[in-house]
Amino acid sequence: MSFIFDTLTWKDEEGVIPWLADNWDVSEDGTEWTFTLHSDVAWHDGEPLTAEDVAFTFDYFKQHQEAFKWFWPMDKVEGAEAMDERTVVLTLTEPIASCHEALIGSLPIIPRHIWESVDDPAKFTAEEAVIGSGLFKLVEYNKEEARYVYEANADYFKGSPAVDTLTFIKVENEALALETGTTDYASFWGKEIEAVRELEEDLDCQHIEGPSFWVLQVVFNTTQPPFDNVNLRRAVAHAIDRAKIVEQVTHGGAIVANLGIVSPFTDWYNPNLPAYEYDPAKARDMLDELGMTDLSLTLITTGGFAREAELVQADLEQVGIQVEVQAGDQSTIDGLLREGNFDLAINGHGGIANPSILRTPTWPASSYNNEEYDSLYQEQSRATDEEERREMVWQLQQIIAEDLPVLTLYHPKMWTVYNPSKLDTWFYTQGGVSLGIPIAMNKLIFLER
């Protein structure tokens, strides 16, 4: 989407950069933002992009927020007003932490002349729906074949992109597609490290390694016995050899996870958390003390993490906890987690470059209740001072690591493998593209900088 539509600000390797907005001012209390737009920006249909469009966009998304799949904190937007051709004032009901990532740098500015007559945006699929201001125009979208064809927007205000036609296709085997030259770019993660190593032998391909914004974790059902007992959760943490799982299952394609969930590849990461070293003898002692020597539990997971589940099962058996592994598809697991119908689950999620993911440390169920945690979360989401916010995010991680509503296992690494003769400007964006999407396809790679 960021190819077709632009945002007021954008990000490069280092951080926030001006985009549609040349510059901006924030009021002292963080609720009033004044943007000065770049002049001479045009929509794909030739109409000029003005402050009216920007103001309209904020109002429109606020009005229709339920219909959009991505989520912006539109409930915190009071409104936006165009002061003149190039000046927009955005008013918020309360300050939004990391406002560039959460809203300004990720909300696509849409053309008023097309969208003002659209009542149900989710079902608006006319050709005009893809008229944006971005560096590419979408010329073909084939739903049957999951194929997108983009063409360069020669009149782009940052210059014409280096690639004339950009095509996304669906393939079954990405490594094979690269090897046969069917595609010039693919991304791999975690266990797929084997494919990356094999492609390394192929001289035509190069790769870069990216950060990990994804976490696999053991979720405890904290709402019912036996895992409502924090000491049992801690005993389990001592019983599971996380390093062994990383080594044996991912073959070095992952790193042992931060117990506070947040990605170690970001500034939000708290490196000083309790460690729970692997110590089965200690785990057994703790279980004895709890009088829980004869536990028998179920562990749910998807087929994709069956190996991890087996290792956890074996580790727990060592300390006298019998575990039955049940595998289902992702929707089944999500359903069981939501209903609270489980003891243990192995499940993963992304988005951990952004502290707002910590809303509830369990996923996707909100089974964990801790008032201190919740109020701290609310407080940090309003913080405008980065230092203050970091302090609070560190505290949140401290609580997770001590209270263990989840036991994180690993963060899979990511790789982008590409054909350098086509394009060799790939990079991973600091904190991820847009709302934190960890891909090496930032639109900047197509532009002269």
Binding site: Q65, E66, K143, E145, D334, R359, L435
Partner: protein, 322 residues
């Protein structure tokens, strides 16, 4: 009478169709933000869930949803896919044409070839030709379809570079039009079609061969032969039509399952057909799309069963009389 039976069956199926997907654990919302196990950087709050459920009409009482579903169907409306965010009917039609093209052409080939080879084998029972055919048909066709597909890709696409690794056409080919497009589509069609033909051939072949062997031992064939009718005429005019009876049933059943039957091959070749669509709809709990997809599958099964029934009566006088 038979048609009425089929109509009742269809109605019962329609209802199952509605309730079964909803009995699976989970709901369509978990996939709304993308595959939750690989991306989904955003967390749905309870409030957002409520909003979304209301938007898709999923928080209405089940009876009301069922009524809406039946009324929609009666009006020819299959609903709106939640996962793909598009009308179900256009999604199904878009995919159906590729599945019908792929499995239809493959079916013509493997049915013709299977009957032909089966007849030849039966005629030459016990000879080198028969044994040779048996061994080669089975050694080629007894691989699991996805494994066979992978082998074909590795050999023809990776080693020889002769065929594309997947998809139904090249990007941009859709606009090219004309002969170039036909060539492109056939180029993409060849390997998946070959996998299907090789997988389905042994069944038809063996059935024809055995059925023919049975018929060739019948009295009327001996009578025909003793009347001095030439051998190939005995085979084609007297034996084959009767030997085909059980084959017609088998073929009708295979055609009925043709929509899902190509799923593995579609997955391996990233072919944009019905099998992968319905599979994805199941994983995403996309109720409207699942309903529409199953409806189409059922319609196929019921239609081909009915066709087989009617055809059978025409071919076999004994059934007509009963």
């Amino acid at each position: 009478m038979r048609v009425a039976q089929y109509l009742i069956t269809l109605f019962v199926l329609l209802s199952l169709n509605f309730f079964l997907p909803r009995m699976m654990p989970g709901d369509p919302l978990s996939y709304l933000l993308g595959d939750p196990s690989t991306d989904a950087p955003i967390l749905l709050t309870e409030e957002m869930r409520e909003n979304l459920l209301e938007y898709y009409g999923l928080n209405k009482p089940l009876a009301q949803q069922y009524k809406d579903y039946l009324l929609g169907l009666a009006g020819g409306d299959l609903g709106w896919s939640i996962y793909y965010n598009a009308p179900v009917s256009s999604l199904l039609l878009g995919r159906l044409k590729w599945t019908l093209f792929l499995s239809g052409t493959a079916a013509v080939i493997y049915v013709t070839l299977g009957i032909l080879l089966g007849a030849i084998s039966a005629r030459n029972r016990g000879t080198k030709t028969d044994v040779g055919l048996l061994v080669s048909v089975f050694s080629l066709g007894s691989w699991p379809p996805f494994f066979l597909g992978m082998l074909l890709i590795i050999f023809f696409s990776l080693k020889l570079g002769a065929f594309p690794i997947g998809g139904a056409q090249s990007p941009g080919a859709a606009q090219a039009g004309g002969f170039g497009r036909v060539k492109d589509v056939l180029h993409h069609w060849f390997l998946p079609c070959l996998s299907l033909v090789l997988t389905h051939l042994p069944g038809i072949y063996l059935l024809t061969r055995n059925s023919m062997l049975g018929v060739l031992g019948e009295d009327y064939v001996r009578t025909a032969r003793s009347k001095g009718i030439r051998e190939h005429r005995v085979l084609l005019r007297h034996a084959l039509p009767n030997a085909l009876l059980p084959i017609v049933t088998t073929i009708a059943m295979r055609f009925g399952f043709m929509i899902m039957g190509t799923m593995f091959v579609e997955v391996v070749f990233a072919y944009p057909g019905m099998g992968t669509l319905i599979y994805q709809a199941g994983a995403a709990r996309d109720y409207p799309l699942l309903q529409g997809g199953f409806l189409l599958m059922m319609a196929f099964v019921v239609f081909f069963n009915l066709a087989a029934d009617l055809l059978y009566a025409r071919l076999d006088p004994r059934v007509r009389r009963a």
